[in-house]
Amino acid sequence: MCGAVKGGLSLDGVDVAKEAIIQGQVVRGDEPVGNAYVRLLDGTGEFTAEVPTSATGHFRFFAGPGDWTLRTLAPQSDPVDNKVTAAKGVVAEVTVSL
């Protein structure tokens, strides 16, 4: 494999060529944030999905090709928005800094 997949979540069993994956990690400084919620909003700002981060702050979405916004909520933080573009067969990596 090409080894392009960073991050802590395994992609074993997922056919990456068929998916437009957005994944990454939520951090506060150097520390991963394991109790955050990441919301995936579509090009019109409409909610599409939400996941809690793993203990290591990681998250993943199986999106469609196009432009998306990640909105991250965490205790003692204001929401943070990150823009990201997804494409089929590509894993888009995003680091969300609170």
């Binding site: 997922v14 056919d15 068929k18 998916e19 109790n35 919620y37 919301r39 995936l40 579509d42 019109t44 409409e46 909610f47 599409t48 999905a49 939400e50 996941v51 809690p52 993943r60 979405f61 199986f62 999106a63 469609g64 909105r71 909520l73 965490a74 205790p75 003692q76 929401p79």
Partner: protein, 282 residues
Amino acid sequence: MSRESALVNADWVAEHLADPNVILIEVDEDTSAYDRSHISGAIKLDWTTDLQDQVRRDFVSKAQFEALLSEKGVSNDATVVLYGGNNNWFAAYAYWYFKLYGHSDVKLLDGGRKKWELDARDLTDEPVKLDPTSYTATEQDLSIRAFRDEVVAAIGTQNLVDVRSPDEFAGRLLAPAHLPQEQAQRAGHIPTAASVPWSKAANDDGTFRSDDELKQIYSEAGVDWSKDTIAYCRIGERSSHTWFVLKELLGEENVKNYDGSWTEYGSLVGVPVALGDEPGVA
């Protein structure tokens, strides 16, 4: 039903943690979430094993539901308060399920597990075991459950509310975007269905919007309040959330949840399917 009788907030739950007549139950899509941590005193229901028949695609029978709640220690007169992750999707599904089998006093924690966590309230990993009871369920209340033939008959005549994300409605995605997309069924939606993603009913923190906002959202999407309504999604859990809004918060009569939802409808031979962002015609 009304907001006052169907919904409680986190302060209410915190004040009733020691109340023996209040039973907190966590229901999550991620069925391991409870084992990592939960609200003090809460028990767990696993929607995949506890609430689904393990052979056929259907719910557990009345007798199985009675055995489940008896073993879990839920009594008929208990106030059951449900909460969970995913903005209460599966907690709302369990709420609807408790109503289906006739439990009289059941409530949802507004905002569910997410709001509780974002407020930095306490969670524990302490195991909880309640004393067994002898629970008696009623026959299923089919006035709140829709089956496929009713759904096909409702095309163009009743309100069909598709509560999936816009991309699932249009046929661009087959599942919520936190799940892999490869599926057997066709993409799209039931013709004439209004697209009102469940998320429109909730704030970012998972709490429900106000009654006035909710009424406006569904009215603008084309819901005709003089007609009966069937809500659906992919497997019936997000549409339980919308069923809860329409029936329990707004007090609408004749609202059903189609638990077969898109994984059934999108696999049926010969039924009409609409693609794209518009409802389509009957």
